[in-house]
Amino acid sequence: MVDAARQPKIDVRTYTEVESVEGFVGNFKVTLREKAKHVLADRCNGCGDCARVCPIEVPNYYEMNLAPRKAVYIPMSQSVPLVYTVDLDACIHCYKCVEACGPLKAIDFSQEDKYVQEDIGAIVVATGFGHFDPSVMEEYGYGRFPNVITSMEMERLNNSAGLTAGNLIRPSDRKNPQKLAFINCVGSRDKRYNPGCSNFCCMYSIKNAVLLKQMYPNVDITIYYMDIRTPSKGYEEFYDRAREMGIHFVQGRPSLITEDEETHNLFVHSEDISLGRVIEKEYDMVMLNQAAVPQPDQNHMSSVLNVVQSPGGWFMEYHPKLRPIDSPTDGIFFAGACQGPKDIPASVAAGSAAASRASRILHSEKWEIEPIVAVVWPDRCSATTKGRACGLCVKACPYGAVVIDGDKAAEIITAKCHGCGGCVAECPEDAITQMHYTDAQILSQIRALLADKPEEKILAFRCQWCSYGGADLAGTSHFEYTANERGLRVMCSARMDSDFIYEAYRLGAGAVLYSGCHPQDCHYITGQKVGAKRADRLKKMFERMNMTDGRFRVEWISAAEGDKYARVLNEMQMTLDNMSPEELRDEIERLKPDMEKRLKRFPGVPGVSEAMDYSDTLVDAILKAKETS
């Protein structure tokens, strides 16, 4: 901690939050909100005279709310930086602190939150984890039985720097407990709350047991566990040591804690699996080893940073094995438990790894980004053809990369364009194209995918970042789904042009899936919203056309939802299976003229007519090649 504060290249800004992150790798613009401390950092000498005179006491988060702090406070005596903060929510404005501070004049009630913009080349996200609140598990009585405490409360009660100076007492009568039970996996490995393992709790409860046993040799400690997980170097040996110290380990997850209302002693009901018998034991105090959960503001941070969350809410890495530190956004990296529970060594390792990944960029003069950007054909823009630009492209762009200057055709600022393709699909004049995802390319892919028995096929449009990843995960997890799916990848659902959907139905597709990120996960901030709006319009239109429900599905599937991808596809297959071939054929034929009408202008788009011609040849070749092979 102190090293960080001393290191001249590190600018420590506490009491500060990240408001927004814009830009791209090497060129992020970050807005920070430095919350007003109402104490001038350069004048405060950390003497604490202000806190001594402050008459207000509120619970101190740092002590897990077991001890009070003043309205003007530092969370702990070794705070870094050693600068006090006035908590205005608690302050009654008596100004005794100002008086006590005297000539230093460090306290300044006029201070306001400050918004600062910083140019940043790379970002390391190390927002950490939160603690599961066990009071929702009524069976353990936390919050009702005073002597049931959490592991974090134990840390403070048993800490020489903590509120009791390390003298472990139990809350009901402040006596030293003689018989303690620790319960592991409270809220973790529990499908009702958090299905995952919290990674470090096993070692953590063994650590606490060993510490207590060293301090109070006569104390009787039992650890209730389901499995003890000691996967790293030296961990199993530590577990051995704990057992040899006389710490009891009971395999069996307690189902219930009851309390003797007079003594406030606790009775833990569990099966002892080794005995195959239910045991009920009395303890002075019970510690619940609470699960590690995502930070309460993790969803918020996820949308500030535009990064995806795994099931359960942790930040999701680009690839779980091969790129575990990278976020899907180039230039943003993860360190520590924000991407899943990690113990201290793993967090430190991840911190170093993230620094290393980031420094690749930060040590470079230039960084390469993919040229998948949008480009305008000025002669097709309505500014040229009609004298007035419609501006839909400007509205669709999440980055302000499209500009319309007076009566000139729209223009793309390449450096700002992230390549979602929203403007391309939104342009009513088909005057914009996207490199590497042109209409001609996508149309010829559609033709190829629907060449053979199109009525049996489910054409699935997926965005690169989420639903394509979801489809990958379905495969990686071996979730089986119908082989009639034919997937097509674009960068974002914003690129999924209505014309592609009409074309698919014109060609006789059995069903079409329109899928992308959940709105909060979108890699292009609001690209999904552009896509979703369009999907909604299409859905309503097909309803009016009396298309069978389910032949056009709109689903938001994250890269973590492989199960959902498989389920949606299987449901779509079921929709088709529920129609007789004649019914399906009749419907396809009935809707064809409508689709053709809507596609009328399409062949005028550069490359499209060539793509159509080429595709006719291609389809013949595909059918012939299938016949021979």
Binding site: Y318, A451, N484, L618, S629
Partner: protein
């Protein structure tokens, strides 16, 4: 990037497409017969070379592609293998080494999105592999050469969160001489670790 794509006439040169069907050991070949897909691909327009390979991503696989580009004068490459999230950079690199613009390579995902998900329906998986390969071939017909865009780099890092991971990252960056802003929402850095009593496995103080 100022040149406008002129797709109607940028393919005047004769297309020569090479198609590579990866076995991925038994990951793909355990469900479908790659040779069938090869036979199919040979029948597609402009495909001058189609073959299967045990591991396309392995050195031998990459070498095969690179040699073929020269031998068969390939100007487009299709690799039917795994997810683009897995090996697109690999194959882009491989074709670039053989002098082909990396954006003239297209992948078809016949592993994650085919054989791994359709183990129950081998014939369906085979048909799908063919169609996905055909679609990739179709896309290459309209691919254009593209160059990566260079952007400048601001030599400053932001670390969000002042716990043990954030502090470590900040120190590592700063010690490399990189200006680093360490942001913490609470009044002190330290995070959860500083709240802990002595920490495992060394049982030393956590601060």
């Amino acid at each position: 990037m100022s040149d406008l794509p002129n797709e109607t006439n940028n393919n005047e040169e004769e297309l020569r497409i090479g198609v590579y069907i990866c076995h991925c050991g038994s990951n793909i070949a355990g469900v479908i017969d790659p040779e069938e897909v090869v036979k199919f691909a040979e029948g597609l327009p402009d495909v001058v070379r189609a073959t299967d390979t045990l591991y396309a991503c392995a050195d031998s696989g990459q070498r095969l592609i690179k040699e073929d580009i020269e031998k068969f004068k390939l100007n487009r490459v299709v690799v039917s293998a795994c997810s683009v999230r897995m090996h697109e950079p690999t194959f882009r690199g491989a074709v670039a080494e053989a002098g082909l613009n990396p954006f003239l390579m297209e992948m078809a995902n016949i592993r994650e999105q085919c054989t791994w998900a359709h183990g129950h329906d081998r014939e369906g998986a085979l048909q799908k592999s063919m169609d996905l390969t055909a679609a990739a071939v179709a896309k290459t017909r309209f691919l254009t050469t593209l160059d990566m865009i260079d952007v400048p780099v601001t030599k400053k890092a932001l670390v969000i969160g002042g716990g043990v991971a954030g502090i470590t990252a900040s120190l590592d960056l700063a010690e490399q001489g990189i200006e680093t802003i360490l942001v913490e929402k609470e009044p002190t850095i330290g995070g959860v670790m500083s709240q802990l009593n002595k920490t495992f496995p060394t049982m030393d103080c956590s601060i």
